[in-house]
């Protein structure tokens, strides 16, 4: 019964929600329990889940998805500046504008497939990035990034309250500030909702048709499907996910920078998805976790911290270990990440999810063997030993 339950939508969602909401507990031992990183896990989780709807299901590799992340952020900050510090309109507008961008870019890019598609998306993202960084500074505030200012009109907020606040207001959900842990829980709830939609899409006929497009697009056409609108829908959905993620970046930290749209940002989500396991439901989330953990925690380990960590070793050995390890953490974190990419893909085609699958198979086999042995023993002892599976 258990297994079946956990494979049902309700079971999966329950398991997933518990895992996400208890992140502060189980991430504590590895030092990843603080609001900003937790928020980043959730936000980039949404980004990667959305990206996976396009890439994992249809196989179309967009190398410019960060453009929607950036658009989402800019829209959210503008909503804070012009309308209200309430996060709901910001999120709504971000998703709408990102969706509109996705329709436009997707409509053009989806005329081509394979690497031609990838380069088209890359080109749009790079153009957006370069323009946002320089020429569009009046809208984007260029290199510095778009920030709140005390002179912002904030029409809606000012219409309802004339209290003079010193300093900059914070983003809020009807009064609840969206920084720190409340911010994380807000993102986490949205992640759970986003995951739910993704789950439904994966398990729906629509999702299956997308997978069929990935498997054999020509066949799909001759089977009577107009594949272009399917692809465009997937593209727009994943664009809206990215817009949502972008808006949440601004919600938890109201600043939007152009580099969010650079190809490296697009590349990051590609790497996250492949690393975790493309086309799997939770794989991308694992990829997000690994890369963000490296970026934030591994990069912060310096030799002092290492000495603390390895203090249980004998002195000479401790120094040796710290010297060796220090090349791979701190400023060497990217080296370790690069090595990790290579090792994962060499030994685990299909990403981390494949590793988990293999491990669970090994455990299952082991358990099966053990229970077989046990059964043999118990069967010898008494004849009725068949409990339910």
């Amino acid at each position: 019964m258990n297994k079946q339950f956990f494979q049902s939508d309700l079971g999966t969602m329950l398991l997933f929600s518990v895992a996400i909401l208890t992140m502060p507990v189980w991430l504590d031992p590895v030092g990843a329990n603080y609001p900003d990183l937790l928020q980043k896990f959730a936000i980039f989780g949404i980004f990667a889940i959305g990206f996976n709807i396009l890439f994992g299901l249809t196989g179309y590799l967009s190398f410019g998805h960060a453009v929607f992340l950036g658009v989402g952020s800019y829209t959210a900050v503008w909503s804070f500046k012009l309308l209200s510090m309430n996060v709901l309109p910001a999120i709504m507008f971000s998703m709408i504008i990102a969706g509109i961008f996705a329709i436009g870019i997707g409509y053009l890019c989806l005329r081509r497939s394979g690497i031609y598609f990838s380069i088209l998306t890359l080109a749009f993202a790079q153009m957006s990035y370069n323009m946002a960084y320089s020429v569009l500074t009046p809208i984007t505030n260029g290199e510095t990034g778009l920030q709140l200012s005390s002179q912002d009109p904030r029409i809606v907020d000012n219409a309802f309250s004339d209290a003079v606040v010193e300093g900059l207001p914070s983003t809020n959900l009807f009064g609840m500030e969206m920084s720190g842990y409340p911010g994380f829980y807000f993102c986490a709830v949205l992640l759970i909702i986003a995951f739910f939609f993704s789950l439904r899409i994966f398990r729906s006929p629509f999702g299956m048709k997308l997978q069929a497009i990935k498997s054999n697009q020509t066949r799909m056409r001759y089977t009577g499907f107009n594949t272009r609108p399917y692809l465009l829908t997937a593209f727009v959905i994943s664009g809206i996910y990215a817009g949502l993620a972008g808006s949440l970046l601004a919600v938890t930290d109201p600043l939007a920078g152009a580099e969010r749209m650079q190809w490296t940002a697009s590349g990051e989500v590609v790497l996250m998805t492949i690393l975790g396991g493309m086309g799997t439901l939770v794989g991308p989330l694992l990829g997000v976790g690994i890369i963000k953990y490296f970026e934030n925690i591994f990069s912060s380990l310096n030799s002092n911290r290492l000495h603390e960590i390895f203090s249980w070793l004998p002195d000479g050995l401790e120094d040796f270990v710290v010297t060796v390890v220090s090349h791979f953490v701190g400023e060497g974190w990217q080296l370790t990440l690069g090595l990790l990419f290579m090792l994962v893909v060499i030994f685990l085609p299909g990403g981390v999810m494949e590793g988990i699958r293999r491990t669970s198979t090994v455990i299952k086999n082991y358990n099966a063997k053990r229970s077989q042995n046990k059964e043999a023993v118990t069967a010898a002892a008494s004849k009725e030993s068949d409990d339910g599976k």
Binding site: F55, G59, L61, L108, R111, R112, S113, G114, I115, Y116, I119, L120, L122, A123, F124, Q126, M127, N130, M131, S134, V135, Q217, W263, G267, V270, L271, I274, L275, M278, H327, G332, Q334, L335, L337, G338, L339, L340, F341, M342, V344, V345, I346, P349
Partner: protein, 339 residues
């Protein structure tokens, strides 16, 4: 007029670099079917061949500056100069041309071992996994270089006699000082032309090349003919590495190399390859020069005043237009990397 000619030269120069980098990339795409994100790193490694040679040649006798007491500051004189006088100085001066002879075997070795050790096992794997593994490799390579050479760019100059400018205007009879262009950039264009032509000739006129071209066209069939395609592919990868490495080594005087230069060129080289059309060597070269020249002209203030920021996006804009108008780039073949 002079501005026009100069921008044309700039475009050719840029195009030469783009074409050289894209050339190897598309060779690997076309024959091996591998998306190689570590190709930029090969370009960077080539540049660091020159840097390494310079470091070796300028191993110096150090005379301590006694006025400085808190740390060791030296006045350095390379041993080569001490031992061989002007000859030694000349050798150091000509480090870049000499480094070519170092770069060829080293890059070949790197290319061969990369193919044998890693790339080979990814022929049949999905592109996504090729991207991840080669990207990982690129990061590892650049971080290793950084561990040895630091993050700051390292200046290596062209030979003294070639660091000045050629007075092209005078040569063409337009009067002295009217049109000057750096010697080294002219050499770079000629050099890249020579390399591209010789690789073309090699592929065109040798049996090896014939098999490779056939392999680019239809790998399965060539494999069925009982030809050892595998070994040839290894060599092709080695060739691509050498071409990228030479492009890097020769580029050093123009752009002081640093560990990140491979990544900086990576995206651009992919755009060039795709605009040229997947699997087409000629396309890559044509696209390289086309984009180089367009980029140069769009950087003119006269044009930027009309369309602000055009110089920053021209490459991508042209790429979008070309791919949308011509489904497979300038000269791409059907079915290569379309799924």
């Amino acid at each position: 007029m002079d501005v026009f000619l100069l921008q044309l030269l700039n475009g050719l120069d840029k195009g030469a670099a783009y074409a050289l980098i894209a050339f190897g990339l598309t060779l690997v795409f076309g024959t091996l079917g591998v998306v190689n994100f570590a190709h930029g790193a090969l370009f960077m490694l080539g540049a660091f061949c020159a840097v390494t040679l310079q470091k070796i040649l300028t191993i110096s006798k150090k005379v301590k500056d006694e006025s400085i007491t808190f740390f060791d500051a030296y006045k350095e004189t390379p041993y080569l100069e001490i031992w061989w006088g002007d000859t030694g100085a000349a050798i150091i001066d000509w480090v870049i041309p000499i480094s070519i002879f170092l770069a060829i075997p080293i890059m070949l070795l790197i290319g061969l071992s990369m193919e044998r050790g890693l790339i080979r096992h990814f022929y049949k794997r999905p592109h996504a996994e090729q991207i991840l593994v080669t990207f990982g490799l690129a990061i590892v390579l650049q971080e290793l270089i950084r561990a040895f050479f630091g993050a700051n760019p390292i200046p290596v100059s062209a030979p003294e006699i070639l660091s000045g400018s050629a007075d092209i205007g005078y040569i063409l009879g337009m009067g002295a000082d009217y049109l000057t262009y750096p010697w080294w950039r002219i050499i770079y264009v000629l050099f890249s032309g020579a390399i591209i032509l010789s690789v073309f000739a090699f592929l065109q006129f040798t049996t090896f090349g014939m098999v490779v071209r056939a392999g680019m066209h239809d790998r399965e069939t060539v494999g069925l003919l009982g030809i050892n395609v595998q070994r040839r592919f290894t060599i092709v990868f080695g060739m691509a590495a050498v071409v990228a490495g030479l492009a890097g080594a020769m580029y050093v005087p123009i752009l002081p190399p640093d560990y990140h230069m491979g990544m900086d060129f990576l995206v651009l080289s992919f755009v060039v390859v795709v605009v040229g059309g997947m699997g087409s060597l000629g396309g890559a070269v044509a696209a390289g020069f086309l984009l180089g020249i367009l980029q140069s002209f769009s950087s003119l203030n006269e044009i930027k005043n009309i369309i602000p920021g055009i110089d920053q996006i021209i490459i991508y804009l042209v790429a979008v237009v070309i791919i949308l108008v011509r489904p497979r780039g300038l000269m791409g073949r059907k079915g290569v990397m379309e799924d």
